[in-house]
Amino acid sequence: MNDRNGVRSIDVGAPPARFARGWHCLGLAAPFRDGSPHAVEAFGTKLVVFADESGVLRVLDGYCRHMGGDLSRGTIKGNAIACPFHDWRWGPDGKCVKIPYSRRVPPTARTRAWLTLEQNQQLFVWNDPQGNPPAPEVTIPRIEGAYSDEWSNWTWDSLSVDANCREVVDNVVDMAHFFYIHFAFPTYFRNVFERHIASQYLKTRSRPDYEPDARPATGSTTEIGLVSEAAYYGPSYMIDYLNYDYHGVPMDAVLINCHYPVTPERFILQWGVIVKKLPGLSPEQADKVAAKFAKFVGLGFQQDVDIWTHKTRIDNPLLCADDGPVYQLRRWYEQFYLDVEAVPADMVARHEFEIDTSRAVEAWEAEVAANIAARQAGVSTA
């Protein structure tokens, strides 16, 4: 990987030619039930999402097989979506059920219907280039807080990112970027990959030299701790169970970090937060706490996006001893791009990797102390 002069080269590789097999979250379910069809650009095409008469959300290919009309600009008529071009009616199973101006429907009039799932008040579609249904064990798990009055409502945000979605998945193993990009201070970092699940166990301290709303740092040494247990269930949906210090009170939160591909070089990144209501908080106040946390998460993602949209794809990262298991993660991730029969046992076998954070903590403590000293010097001379 180094040339004659000893210079390391970058292998940029190429994004995969297909889209990952797995459940992909399209967003909160409720906004899709407003009586109108919705367009979602995903998996290299356009999808239409609409609610049938019983309120079940249905997803079909968005382009009418007749003359290519955009079904998402059509109308829901009964259980079918009607094309705005010639009123062809497409049912929830993808079959054309009616062409009002014709005496019969051609027997080949069938479009692609996507398998859907509603879980945690979110809508999911199943993508499988082989066309198989999902195995039951890869389903999206239930989050109890999403069904409890003791928790806030979901916040929900999204960003379009011009990069291949492997960039966001790489974050699972990237301990050091939490310090440089997210202004956190990791002290414990461990990954476990097994079957379709990739977990990250993280503990961080706050950064007394940095406050997210850009107020001047006070130099306070209060160490606001955060404990995070996050896992990808399949290629694109991460549930992150968090406990953090909120004005001296431990706060439980759940963060969803998910995405779906638009093209091999673009994805939609989405995130949502619920928090457990503290005693004495009204539902509105709990929603505000969730919104505040989601805003903080969003600032972090915006900084990620700035990195991703300027960096190069790199298939041969040069790692130091204190980096995480990037290659092992990518090997785990590759399972979703192979035919299911072609996934080797060792690709999904359990791998554990715990980073030694001692050197990083030592270096970062010195950096934080220097930042605070510089601020204080600046303040005292102002």
Partner: protein
Amino acid sequence: MTNAVQPDWRAQSDWQAQPDGAARPDERQSRYVPVRCRECGATVLAAKFSVQHTSVQWDAAAVDQCAEFAARRAIGEQSPLIERCGAMRASIETAALEGQLPVSPP
């Protein structure tokens, strides 16, 4: 090097001929050695870059054999969501202390 088992996932050591963007092996040379759990006998491959760092490769047989995972599966947990097996961790730390598992920076 040690007499460690060399499974397929480590066997590819060159940078060439990775088909179709296939995942590459970790370039950091880890000295993986087999460690047998002192509780249940499950055997994994372990490596340490430093005293605190640990990398552990299980195979399906070891996951099935692990007594702690089995006990937690019995109460409805899934092994991918279990952070670690305490007995295996203790066995790995003991192997490192006793010199059977080398602490070797990449």
